[in-house]
């Protein structure tokens, strides 16, 4: 009786990689430069004293705002890296948090417990985490679909247990491990230097976007896109699916670990939150919120998610919410309630994510554009 259908995960509702489709004509000349322009704007943002009341607590150049932006940018990068797996290759991993956490804890432990200089610690942590991704990936990729998702989840769970158990007194268990900043470059320490962390996060995001963009547009990216649709077919074409998936998995792991290094510096430590499967789930949420398989979707999704995650705590305790009747104010004061609801609405009203907004708006813009007179 209860027979099982093949444990396949349906490919994500992904778009065709932009990198593999010719650019649209209207923006053809400008388009390649837009990301650089955006990067430049983001880079000079800290020189602005503009206040955006309601959006940020302080002016753009205040440490609080920059800190928040830095966290958002790191998660934008993480989501983009995760999308390399999920949106572009069709691999549903539930254990991506592990490699991020390995980056965070690796750096933290090497700096704080072993007293290594930052650059050495970072290099070791990223190398180590990438190797870990390659090893675990090599095992996990023997399965496909939901089974793969569960094996990765299981590996990540072991990581979480080890961290929580305070194995060897290295991780600080549930209390986490504050980063020892005494050996760090002074430019990365202190509230006044938050801007440097912001730039670091921005650089990380830029690197991830560049890497993901180049890889998806590369011959390998083409194979990954094919894998997402039909793995068997790739095999019959003469390519080893396993190898390509492993490369994607390892690369994504390495990107996540690098994000971990940056995050560790921004937050000034490690805490077990980041090892949980919830983090992977939120990455998934970010990617879908933004639009899997698109260049900017996951980035926007990551930034937006983290922004909401941080700002909703303030929203929940704001006067506007507290003055509402209890039926409304109680749930609204729970950030997770708002976040969950926003997410559900997003799935409904923006299928394809934020990135599909432009195409969904085209009919509108077309209607608004004046038709040339005959």
């Amino acid at each position: 009786m209860t027979e099982v259908k093949s444990p396949e995960v349906p490919a994500p509702p992904a778009a065709v990689p932009d990198e593999l489709t010719p650019g649209r004509r209207r923006w053809h000349g400008v388009r390649p430069w837009l990301p650089l322009a955006a990067l430049a704007v983001a880079a000079i943002l800290p020189y602005s004293t503009v206040s955006l009341p309601g959006i940020f607590e302080g002016p753009l150049n205040s440490p609080g705002t920059l800190q928040l932006l830095a966290v958002c940018l790191v998660f934008g990068g993480l989501a983009a890296g995760y999308d390399l797996l999920f949106g572009r290759t069709g691999m549903l991993s539930f254990g991506h948090a592990l490699y991020f956490a390995a980056g965070v804890y690796g750096t933290d432990i090497l700096v704080t417990r072993a007293g290594l200089p930052l650059w050495q610690a970072a290099l070791l942590a990223v190398t180590g985490a990438t190797t870990l991704a390659a090893l675990l990936g090599a095992v996990a990729l023997r399965t496909v679909g939901i089974a793969f998702a569960m094996v990765t989840l299981a590996f990540a769970q072991v990581g979480a247990i080890l961290v929580a158990r305070d194995f060897g007194g290295w991780t600080g268990g549930e209390e986490g491990l504050p980063l020892d900043v005494s050996g760090l470059p002074p430019a990365l320490v202190g509230v006044t230097n938050t801007v440097n962390l912001y730039w670091l996060a921005l650089a990380y995001l830029a690197v991830v976007v560049l890497v993901v963009h180049r890889v998806s547009g590369s011959p390998t990216g083409r194979v990954l896109a094919g894998l997402r649709d039909d793995e068997r077919r790739i095999g019959v074409l003469g390519l080893d699916p396993y190898r390509f998936k492993l490369v994607a998995f390892t690369l994504a792991g390495g990107l996540a670990a690098s994000g971990g290094v940056v995050y560790c510096l921004i937050v000034g430590g490690a805490s077990p939150h980041i090892t949980s499967s919830e983090l992977t789930l939120s990455l998934l949420v970010m990617v879908v919120l933004g639009g899997p398989g698109t260049r900017w979707g996951p980035v926007l999704g990551g930034i937006l998610y983290m922004y909401l995650d941080h700002r909703l705590t303030a929203f929940g305790t704001s006067d506007a919410v507290e003055s509402l009747p209890a039926v409304l104010s109680r749930p609204l004061s729970q950030p997770l309630f708002v976040l969950g609801t926003v997410f559900i609405l997003a799935v409904y009203f923006f299928p394809g994510g934020l990135a599909s907004l432009t195409s969904r708006l085209t009919p509108l813009t077309r209607a608004l554009r004046p038709t040339p007179r005959a």
Binding site: V16, R214, S218, P219, T220, V223, G226, R233, I234
Partner: protein
Amino acid sequence: MLATRGLTWRIGEVAIVDSVYLDLAPGEFLGVIGPNGAGKTSLFNLITGLRRPTEGRILLDGEDVTALPPHRRARLGLGRTFQASSVFGSLTVRENVRLAVQAYRGGSMKLWRRAAADREVAAAADAALDRVGLQHRGAALAGTLAHGEKRKLEIALLLAGEPRVMLLDEPMAGVSAEDVPELVAVIKSLTGDSGRAVLMVEHHMDVILELADRIAVMHHGALLACDTPDTVMANATVQEAYLGESL
């Protein structure tokens, strides 16, 4: 070129493919016919490595490939199409073929090159699309193609890999009458010169008769006959088990 030696695939007690001995010479076109469920697709699955045989060996150019995974066999020049179209649905038609070309030419494991910049791949892909008459659909998503178009794309994917041995699983199924001659011409052009060998399953007898040098008849997993078209068509068992009375 391609040979199977006592190839057998059993599920439980039942032999789906039963001790098949086949020999395919370079340049030869071997048609495979047989009632539905005779084991033709299964035979293809064994040869391409998607299934492991329970007994027997598969030789490609005299070399034993029985234990190789599908992609290794493909690289040795073994290509196939699928009975149920399997194309990369979320890629465009052109991208589908480029992927196949790239897979064949090597250099797929290049993470930092721009795939679109490779003119040779693009040119080869366009040539393959041209041959099956799909160039006007190049920008469409393969997943939205109508059935017949998918069949053509399947063949284009196969062509792109320039395989030396090609296995075609019912390429004509669902192709509109108008397009059949065109597709037949394409398939015919595959063999002519290059010493390529083709193994084709097809239920359209006229197509088989037009193309095939020899016809193999499968029945209950076993090879009933393997001979010239005339001999096979005259065979009483084939008449009875496969062709039936004509419409």
